[in-house]
C-alpha cells in the first residue's frame, strides 16, 4: 500500500468499497422510489416537520447499522452470520429474507415502469420495458458486487441533478408561499398512521448494506458517512415537497397523479420543454443500480439457503437469481398489478414491508452482535 494514499482511497485500491461511498449508497438507496411518489402521500404543509422528525429517527437507525458494520461478524460475511446466529438459523432466515427482497425489488421496479408507461409510452405495456431493464441490470450484476457497488457513483451523478431542476420552484413567481400555510395547524389533517410509516419506508434501503459488511474497507467513521447520506436525502425530500406544495397547493395535489413528474412539465428551456421525457429515463440509472444490487443479494441469499455459501462461487447462481427475479417481477406485474386498486395495495405492502425491514434488520443484527460480545466477555472472565 502506498505511503501517501488517503484513507478513503485505500478501499478502492484493495478491492473494497471505501467507507466514503457509504453516503452515496444511503442516499441513492433511499431516494430510489419515493422521490416520485412521496409528495402524493404528503399532502399537507405541516408534514415538512414529519420529514425532519422521521429523518432524525432514521439517523439513529443508521447509527445501529454503522455499529453493526464495524463488528467483526459483519466483516466476515456468511461466517459472521453463522457465528452470530448459527448455521441452521442463518440458512432458515435466508429464505424469508430472499422473499422479502424479491417483493421489495419487484414493487419498486414495477412502480418505476408504471411511471415510464404513464409518462413516456402510454400505448406500450409497462412489461415490454421490463426485459430491457432486466438485461442491463443483469449485465451490471455480472460484474460482481465490487463493481456493481462502485457504480453507485455513476448512479448518483446520473440522477442527483434532477433535484436541482426543482430549485426554481422554491422562489417566486413560481412559488406561492401562502400555500405553505398553516405550517403549525391546530388540528393536523391526514392519516398520520399511514403517513409516518410511508415516510419511514421512504428512508429505507440502507438496511441491505448490513449484508455487505465484508465489502467495506475498515474505517472508523462509517456512521459519519451514512448520516451524511441520510441528511442529503431529507434535504432532497424537503426540496421536492416544498416545490410541489408551493406550486400546486394541497387541494390540487389531491387530484393529480405523480405531482413531482407533473411539476417538471412546467420547466421550459429555449430548445426543449416537457422535461419529464428526459427526467424519467435518466432516473432509470438508479433502478439499474438497485436491481443489480438486488440480484446480487438474491444470489447470496439463494446460496446461503441452499447450503452452498462455502463452496466456490459459480456463475449459475447469478443466472438463477436473475431469472428468478425477472420471473417474480413479471408474474406480479402481469397478474397481480392490473388496476389502480391493486397498485395502491402494492404500495401499501411496500410501505409496511420496507419500513419493517429498515426498522428490524439493523437493530436485530446490532443486538445479536452485542449479545454475542457480552457472552464471549463472560466466557473470558
Amino acid at each position: 500500500m502506498s505511503r501517501g494514499m488517503r484513507a478513503e482511497e485505500r478501499g478502492a485500491a484493495g478491492g473494497l468499497w471505501p467507507a466514503s461511498l457509504g453516503w452515496l449508497f444511503v442516499n441513492r438507496l433511499q431516494v430510489v422510489l419515493y422521490i416520485l411518489v412521496l409528495p402524493h402521500v404528503l399532502l399537507y404543509p405541516y408534514m415538512i416537520w414529519a420529514i425532519v422528525i422521521v429523518g432524525f429517527l432514521s439517523h439513529f437507525n443508521l447509527r445501529l447499522l454503522a455499529g453493526w458494520l464495524r463488528t467483526e461478524e459483519a466483516r466476515l460475511g456468511y461466517e459472521g452470520f453463522v457465528r452470530l446466529l448459527g448455521e441452521r438459523a442463518t440458512r432458515a432466515l435466508a429464505v424469508p429474507g430472499a422473499a422479502a427482497l424479491l417483493l421489495d425489488s419487484a414493487i419498486v421496479t414495477l412502480d418505476y415502469l408504471e411511471v415510464a408507461h404513464h409518462v413516456l409510452f402510454p400505448s406500450v405495456s409497462r412489461l415490454t420495458l421490463l426485459p430491457l431493464l432486466w438485461l442491463v441490470s443483469f449485465y451490471l450484476a455480472g460484474q460482481g458486487m465490487l463493481l456493481a457497488g462502485r457504480f453507485v457513483v455513476m448512479a448518483f451523478i446520473g440522477s442527483v441533478w434532477i433535484a436541482a431542476l426543482f430549485i426554481q420552484f422554491l422562489f417566486p413567481p413560481a412559488a406561492e408561499y401562502r400555500l405553505l400555510l398553516p405550517v403549525f395547524p391546530k388540528e393536523p389533517r391526514g392519516d398520520l398512521a399511514l403517513i409516518l410509516p410511508a415516510l419511514w419506508a421512504a428512508l429505507s434501503g440502507p438496511q441491505y448494506l448490513a449484508f455487505a459488511g465484508r465489502r467495506f474497507a475498515p474505517a472508523g467513521r462509517m456512521f459519519r458517512w451514512l448520516a451524511l447520506g441520510n441528511a442529503l436525502t431529507v434535504l432532497e425530500y424537503i426540496v421536492f415537497f416544498l416545490a410541489v406544495t408551493l406550486s400546486f397547493g394541497t387541494e390540487y395535489m389531491r387530484k393529480i397523479d405523480y405531482p413531482v413528474v407533473q411539476l417538471i412539465r412546467y420547466i421550459q428551456l429555449p430548445f426543449f420543454e416537457r422535461l419529464e421525457t428526459v427526467v424519467i429515463p435518466a432516473h432509470m440509472i438508479l433502478y439499474v443500480f438497485l436491481d443489480a444490487f438486488f440480484i446480487l443479494f438474491l444470489r447470496d441469499a439463494l446460496r446461503v439457503a441452499a447450503g452452498a455459501a462455502r463452496k466456490p462461487e459459480r456463475p449459475g447462481w447469478l443466472t438463477a437469481a436473475a431469472f428468478l427475479w425477472v420471473a417474480v417481477v413479471y408474474v406480479i406485474g402481469r397478474f397481480f398489478w392490473t388496476n389502480e386498486t391493486q397498485h395502491r395495495l402494492w404500495i401499501h405492502v411496500h410501505v409496511w414491508l420496507a419500513g419493517a425491514l429498515y426498522a428490524l434488520v439493523p437493530s436485530f443484527l446490532a443486538l445479536a452482535a452485542a449479545r454475542r460480545r457480552r457472552r464471549s466477555d463472560r466466557t473470558l472472565t
Binding site: 488517503r6 449485465y139 457513483v153 421525457t277 435518466a282 432509470m284
Partner: protein, 508 residues
C-alpha cells in the same frame, strides 16, 4: 482442462521464441560448436545472403555470413574484413574492435541476429555476431497525429533505438529501466519495456512483463498488433492502451508511474495503464494557463458527447417526443422534414453512412484529391441530397456538427470507437426514443465501469472514485497543486514534489 493448458504452455515454452525476453549477460558463455554448413543451409535461396571465407595464418579460417541488403557494406570492409585479413592475434576479440561484437549461443540465435543486420562470424568453432545494421531511417519530424502549436516538435520514428534516445534525453535518470523482448516467431520484433523503477508500482511492471512475454504471434508489425495481444478485454470498443508518437507524452506517462512500450518499426509508443479520461488529454493542456486548459478540455468532452448523442437525440425527438420541441422550433422541424419520404431513422442512418464513407475515402485517397473529395462530399452530396428530398436541411446541419465535433477528440482510436457507439444509440433512439438512448448510455457506463487497462480500473477516478485525481481529469488545475501522482496507479512514490526534485545542477 488445467493440465492441458499447463501442457500447452510448457510446449510453447520449449518450442517458441515468441515473446522471449533477452537474457542479459549471455555473451562470453562458451558456445556449442557450430556447423558452418547447417548455417549456410539456412541462408539458401536468399539472393542477397552472402558468405565470405577469409584465411589467416594466426586466426585460421573465418567464415562470414550476412544479408547484404541489411548491413552497411563500407563498415563491413573497414571494421571486419580488413582486420581479419591482417589479424595478428589468435583471438577474434583482439582482432575486431567493434562495439557490438557478441558471442552467440546457438546457430538459431545467430540466424536471428543476421536478419537484424548483423554479420555472423564463424571462427574456431565459435559463433560471433557483429551488428552493422545499415541506418535506414527518416529524420525526426514534427508529430502528425498529435500536432501542437506550442511545445516540443519532435516525434518518434520507426527506429526503436532512436525513440529510446528521445525518451532518455527527457528522463536522464538511472531509475529509468528498459527491458528488451523479442516478439514474433517470424518478425523477431524488438519490443522495449520502459518504466521508472523508483516510482512505478512493481505490480504494474510485473503484469506488463508477463503480458509482453506471453505474446504469441508469428509477426508483430505495429504497436497496435502488440497492444491487441496484451489487452484485458479484447471485445471492447474502447482502446485500453494509449498510442502516442510524442516523446514528451511518453516521458510524462513514465514520470507519472505508467509503463511504456517501444516497438521496432513503429513510430507509436504504447502507454498503459490508461483511463477513459486520459484519451481526452493533449500535451498542449500543460502549456496553456490552467483556466484555458481546463476550458479546452471541457470543450473536448462536450464535443465527444455531442458527436455521440446529437443525431440519436434528433431521431428520438422527431420520432417519439415531438411534444418536447417548443412550437416555434417545431414549425422549423416540420417544414424541413415535410418533403422527406423516409422516417428520421433511415434519413439519419443514410447520412451517417455517407459521412463515414467520405471520411474513409479522405483517408485512403491521395492527398491531392482531398479537395475534390471535400467539394464532392460537402457540397454536391449535401446540397443535392437536400434538393432531392433525401435528407432534411436540419439533419445536414446535425451531421456536419457531429463530424466537426468528432475531430476534437485527441485520440484517433477513441474517435473511431465513438462512431460505433453512435450507430448503436441511433438504433435505440429509433426504437425507444430517449428511454432507449438512456438505456444505451447506461450500458456504455456499465461497460466502462468493468473495463481495465493493465488490470487497473479504466474508469478511474470516477469508478473507483479517487477525489485527488480530479485535479487533472476534466479540469486541469495549476501544476503546483498537482503534488501527487495519480492515485489509481498506486505508485511506489506518490509524491511529485519532494526530495530530489528541483535540485540545482552540480558542476565539477
Amino acid at each position: 482442462m488445467r493440465w492441458l493448458a499447463r501442457l500447452l504452455a510448457s510446449l510453447r515454452q520449449a518450442s517458441g521464441t515468441d515473446g522471449e525476453r533477452e537474457k542479459p549477460g549471455t555473451a562470453g558463455v562458451p558456445a556449442r560448436r557450430a556447423d558452418a554448413e547447417s548455417l549456410k543451409r539456412a541462408f539458401q535461396n536468399i539472393h542477397d545472403a552472402e558468405c565470405v571465407e577469409i584465411e589467416n595464418d594466426r586466426l585460421g579460417k573465418a567464415t562470414l555470413l550476412y544479408i547484404r541488403s541489411l548491413i552497411d557494406i563500407r563498415q563491413l570492409q573497414e571494421f571486419v574484413i580488413a582486420p581479419l585479413q591482417n589479424a595478428s592475434g589468435a583471438d577474434l576479440r583482439d582482432t575486431i574492435h567493434a562495439a557490438h561484437l557478441t558471442e552467440m549461443d546457438s546457430p538459431e540465435q545467430a540466424e536471428t541476429a543476421a536478419f537484424k543486420g548483423a554479420v555472423i562470424v564463424l571462427a574456431g568453432g565459435r559463433l560471433w555476431s557483429i551488428s552493422l545494421a545499415s541506418s535506414l531511417s527518416r529524420a525526426v519530424e514534427p508529430s502528425k497525429q498529435e500536432a501542437v502549436i506550442h511545445g516540443p516538435q519532435d516525434s518518434f520514428t520507426e527506429q526503436v533505438e532512436n525513440n529510446l534516445t528521445l525518451i532518455r534525453r527527457r528522463l536522464a535518470a538511472s531509475s529509468l529501466k528498459s527491458e528488451r523482448f523479442l516478439v514474433g516467431g517470424l518478425s523477431h520484433t524488438t519490443v522495449i519495456l520502459l518504466y521508472v523503477e523508483s516510482l512505478t508500482n512493481p505490480e504494474l511492471v510485473r503484469i506488463a512483463r508477463e503480458k509482453t512475454a506471453a505474446v504469441r504471434s508469428d509477426a508483430i508489425f505495429d504497436s497496435s498488433h502488440l497492444s491487441q495481444f496484451m489487452e484485458d478485454h479484447i471485445h471492447s470498443v474502447f482502446p485500453q492502451f494509449q498510442q502516442t508518437d510524442r516523446p514528451d507524452a511518453a516521458a510524462a506517462a513514465l514520470a507519472s508511474g505508467k509503463v511504456v512500450w517501444l516497438v521496432e518499426n513503429t513510430p507509436f509508443a504504447l502507454i498503459a495503464p490508461i483511463t477513459f479520461f486520459d484519451l481526452f488529454q493533449s500535451p498542449e493542456d500543460y502549456i496553456h494557463r490552467w483556466p484555458v486548459a481546463s476550458f479546452l478540455r471541457g470543450v473536448r468532452f462536450f464535443a465527444f458527447l455531442f458527436a455521440m448523442f446529437l443525431i440519436p437525440f434528433y431521431v428520438a425527438i422527431t420520432m417519439h417526443h415531438y411534444q418536447m420541441v417548443p412550437l416555434d422550433l417545431l414549425f422549423v422541424v416540420l417544414e424541413s422534414r415535410s418533403e422527406i419520404p423516409f422516417n428520421p431513422f433511415w434519413e439519419a442512418l443514410f447520412m451517417m453512412l455517407v459521412l463515414e464513407i467520405l471520411k474513409e475515402a479522405s483517408l485512403r485517397m491521395p492527398s491531392k484529391s482531398g479537395q475534390t473529395l471535400g467539394i464532392v462530399g460537402g457540397i454536391v452530396i449535401g446540397q443535392a441530397g437536400v434538393e432531392a428530398n433525401i435528407a432534411s436541411n436540419l439533419l445536414i446541419i446535425h451531421v456536419a456538427v457531429t463530424a466537426i465535433a468528432s475531430f476534437l477528440i485527441p485520440n484517433y482510436l477513441m474517435t473511431n470507437s465513438s462512431k460505433l457507439i453512435q450507430f448503436g444509440l441511433l438504433l435505440l433512439a429509433a426504437w425507444l426514443g430517449l428511454w432507449g438512448i438512456t438505456l444505451g448510455l447506461i450500458l456504455v457506463l456499465i461497460h466502462l465501469n468493468g473495463l481495465t487497462s493493465l488490470k487497473q480500473p479504466y474508469f478511474a477516478p470516477l469508478s473507483p472514485f479517487y477525489g485527488a485525481d480530479w485535479k487533472d481529469t476534466i479540469v486541469r488545475l495549476p501544476l503546483k497543486r498537482m503534488s501527487r501522482r495519480p492515485a489509481y496507479l498506486k505508485p511506489a512514490n506518490p509524491w511529485r514534489f519532494g526530495a530530489g526534485s528541483g535540485r540545482p545542477e552540480r558542476k565539477g
